[in-house]
């Protein structure tokens, strides 16, 4: 997920388990979509325990980003086109 690291992102949550991150998205964002592991978001394949919740907040996309040594972060990235693409997915 190299390209995520070069994005202008905000860390919403850190030091949480993947399941806690999923619960946070579902509780915090009225709009979210469930996707499967490997789903492509920002040209990278998302890692996670299915179903993976992706939050939507206006033009912002909130998604989990997992690294072996650092655990799971929830990242918030502004991208109008990606938010629209995700919004078009079936709930």
């Amino acid at each position: 997920m190299g390209c995520v690291e070069s994005m202008n992102y905000e860390i919403v949550l850190r030091d949480a388990t993947f399941k806690e991150s999923r619960d946070y998205i579902k509780k915090t964002y009225a709009e979210f979509r469930d996707v499967q592991p490997g789903f492509k978001i920002f040209d990278t394949h998302v890692i996670g325990l299915p179903p993976i919740a992706i939050g939507l907040d206006g033009d912002f996309v909130i998604f989990p980003f997992t690294k072996p040594c650092h655990g799971t972060f929830l990242l918030r990235v502004e991208d109008k086109e990606e938010a629209a693409r995700l919004r078009a997915l079936k709930k």
Partner: protein
């Protein structure tokens, strides 16, 4: 079974992907080399996928590649499996933290491989409880001493399955 240009059928050797976790727990590198050796002896081709640190620990420990074969970046392995460019017969995921469980769940979802979770470290029992996807679990409280985990691995003998 594949057919060669001469019309003979050829059998591809079985493959096993070893998904390494963060190498901060010492037993990972030792057990990975042990497992690679057992797999090779059983005629199974091992492929290692990890981050740079985890892969480098193995590559430096085996400079003449007596044990190691292909070593690849973990993110690249995920891309290749997800895009159906490559898959494996067995997949061993090393787990000592929540990220390891997350990677194992991912492999269980994207790959057709038979998944084995190798769980170790101080919190191995808590991590075991988080496994809710189909896999065979091999677990022991092992941090510095690899022998409890080796024993658990030998009992399952996944190279013989």
């Amino acid at each position: 079974m594949d057919e060669s240009v001469t019309g003979e059928t050829t059998t591809q050797p079985a493959t096993a992907l070893l998904v390494l976790g963060c190498p901060q727990v010492p037993v990972q590198t030792s057990i990975a080399l042990y497992l690679i050796n057992r797999l090779k002896k059983a005629g199974i081709v091992p492929i290692v996928a990890g981050n740079k640190a985890a892969n480098t620990l193995l590559v430096v420990a085996d400079p003449d590649r007596h044990y190691l074969g292909e070593v690849m970046d973990l993110d690249r392995a995920v891309v290749q499996i997800t895009e159906k460019k490559r898959d494996f017969d067995r997949c061993f995921v090393f787990i000592h933290n929540d990220a390891g469980v997350t990677y194992a769940g991912t492999m269980s979802a994207i790959s057709k491989a038979k998944v084995y979770t190798i769980i170790y470290g101080e919190h191995y029992e808590d991590l075991q409880k988080q496994i809710d996807f189909p896999c065979t679990t091999i677990a022991a409280k092992a941090v510095h001493n690899p022998l409890p985990l080796k024993k658990a691995l030998d009992e399952v003998a996944p190279w013989a399955a």
